[in-house]
């Protein structure tokens, strides 16, 4: 079982995509995360769903968790409104040390190790500078359990 056997097409966003559209894509398609691609269509950043939330949480609440508690319910519910007009590029965290990107020949063990190491619920599969798709945690586990 190799990455090429498990991969499926995966929707992507660009740094220019609005954060609201990116959030909607994630929610509507029930995606485990987001792949942000650069001008050449290659993964520039891969964000697990929980990290996509970071885009919406004000920086001061990330710096100081106590501040999230003091905000009243009405303002807390309007969390996403502050993101209107902002693009993924504006809120993207710094480039991580390693991206969960692999090639079509990767084995199940390689992909599992990569996911575990990068805390990512998906790995992007790239071949000859082209994004082929992604293998998600669910697909990988289904494949492994079927053996």
């Amino acid at each position: 079982m190799r990455a090429r056997d498990l991969l499926t097409p995966f929707p992507t966003v660009t740094p220019g995509t609005s954060v609201i559209d990116a959030a909607r894509l994630l929610a509507d398609h029930d995606l485990p995360g987001l792949i942000v691609v650069d001008d050449e269509g290659l993964p520039a950043s891969i964000l697990p769903g929980t990290q996509v939330l970071r885009l919406a949480v004000p920086r001061y609440c990330q710096d100081d968790p106590a501040l999230a508690r003091v905000v009243d319910e009405a303002h807390a519910d309007a969390l996403l409104s502050s993101l209107a007009g902002r693009a993924v590029r504006d809120v993207l965290p710094g480039r991580p040390r390693e991206l969960p990107v692999t090639d079509p020949d990767a084995t199940a063990l390689e992909m599992a190790a990569l996911m575990a190491r990068t805390h990512s619920p998906l790995v992007a599969v790239v071949d000859e500078r082209r994004l082929l798709g992604a293998v998600t945690l669910k697909v990988l586990l289904d494949g492994l359990l079927a053996q």
Binding site: R59, C61, D63, D64, A66, L67, R69, V70, H75
Partner: protein, 429 residues
């Protein structure tokens, strides 16, 4: 001077240049310099590790260590968030009143805790409050950094340069309270007035926005009430023990480390958490500095510089203290005030001796302390608190440029130092 002395000076200046230009990590620069001093026999293990005057000053290291642990616990309580939001509500969303309350809270906290921690705690909540009020956080952040530098000057534990000065000059916590704190209160009053003038165009009051601030719930900031009371009790006992030194005879370093120990033993805070709260790189940086400066003392360089300074100002204590105040403010604006004070302390020590001992010569220590603490406000890189605030602002998407900070910083430094000069003159000279 001997060849060794000249080599020592070269090593010292090289390390200092690396620290000032941040070409390498400051810990690497200080330790590299200290290592070279040992390598060339400008210092040895006996002096570096065991001499109070030419080696690592363990009183300074352990005082910092103890306070870092206490602050690390206090940080978890949510007290600062509570106070800042309470202040915003008290100010009823009025921009200038809000600034006054925030800078007073920052200055008071900085007098008891270190400046960097204080601004790290108050900056995030400033963003929240300013966002609610649709105000720019920039003037608030700048004012808070400056208030922490001014407030920190008030006590022995408020600013690292004061800790070094106290240890080298044999000055007590109460000496700082009697000689520094009253003037710092005056400076804070003047500073709040200055804020009104400097930042006036930023203050825009919006009644609708102001109403929204009242919906923040500051009580939610405090997650663990018992931890809050326990740490406040320990902080109160530590401060009382500092003040009661003439009765109890515990050195400040001993008080701080015992306080930290009691806090960890009595609360749910674990030893691992307490150790994680300590900024080890800062402590190691201090150790490296002490060994480097110690080598300058051992090889007679400091003695030479001190006798030149004594000669130049012989019998003119007034001239000496004013020159020290001005030069310290100017130099601390450009280089980190910690290495500056570490280097100047042994020189000032000899100037104090030449001026007739700790009694009449004490004004020189206060000149050094005021100059170094207040000079830090002048530029964006003058004090650690400024650097931290600028970093937080950039991360939150409201960058503060070097010149924007420095434009305000120069005004505040010139005004505060100009006020300190007559204070020193009238009180001591």
């Amino acid at each position: 001077m001997s060849v060794l002395a000249w080599v020592t000076v070269a090593v010292f200046l090289g390390a200092y240049a690396l620290i000032a230009t941040e070409r390498v990590h400051r810990v690497a620069a200080a330790l590299g310099g200290a290592g070279l001093m040992l390598l060339i026999h400008a210092s040895d293990a006996g002096a570096a590790f065991f001499s109070e005057s030419t080696g690592v000053d363990w009183n300074v290291i352990f005082l910092l260590l103890g306070m870092m642990v206490i602050v690390g616990v206090l940080k978890q309580t949510g007290l600062f968030e509570y106070l800042a939001i309470w202040a915003a509500k008290r100010a009823r969303g009025r921009p200038y009143r809000l600034m006054v309350l925030l800078v007073v809270i920052t200055a008071l906290a900085s007098a008891m805790l270190d400046n960097v921690t204080t601004v790290l705690l108050v900056a995030p909540v400033t963003f929240l409050v300013c966002e609610r009020l649709a105000l720019s956080p920039v003037p608030y952040l700048i004012a808070e950094a400056m208030a922490s530098n001014i407030g920190g000057a008030a006590t022995l534990v408020g600013d690292p340069p004061n800790i070094i000065i106290a240890s080298r000059g044999g000055l007590s916590f109460n000496d700082f309270l009697v000689h520094m704190a009253p003037m710092v209160i005056v400076l804070m009053v003047v500073f709040t007035g200055l804020c009104r003038v400097l930042f006036r165009r930023w203050f825009v009051y919006d009644p609708e926005r102001a109403a929204q601030i009242m919906r923040l719930n500051e009580r939610e900031a405090i997650a663990d009430r018992s931890l809050l009371w326990q740490s406040l009790a320990v902080l109160a006992v530590v401060m009382a023990a500092f003040v009661l030194h003439p009765v109890l005879h515990y050195e400040p370093s001993v008080v701080a480390i015992l306080g930290a120990g009691v806090l960890v033993a009595a609360t749910r805070v674990t030893t691992e958490q307490a150790i994680a709260a300590v900024e080890w790189p800062t402590l190691v940086f201090f150790m490296g500095l002490f060994v480097m400066v110690g080598a300058l003392v051992e090889t007679g360089v400091i003695g030479q510089v001190a006798s030149l300074a004594v000669e130049a100002t012989s019998g003119q204590l007034g001239l000496a203290s004013m020159a020290l105040l001005g030069a310290s403010a100017a130099l601390s604006a450009i280089v980190d005030n910690i290495p500056y004070v570490a280097t100047m302390s042994p020189i000032v020590e000899q100037m104090v001796q030449a001026a007739g001992g700790p009694g009449p010569g004490q004004v020189l220590w206060w000149s050094l302390a005021f100059g170094a603490d207040l000079g830090g406000n002048a530029t964006a890189v003058g004090a650690a608190a400024n650097v931290v605030v600028i970093g937080i602002a950039a991360r939150n998407g409201t960058p503060i440029s070097f010149w924007r900070f420095t434009k305000y910083g120069l005004v505040v430094t010139v005004v505060t130092v100009a006020l300190v000069a007559p204070y020193l003159w009238l009180r001591y000279l």
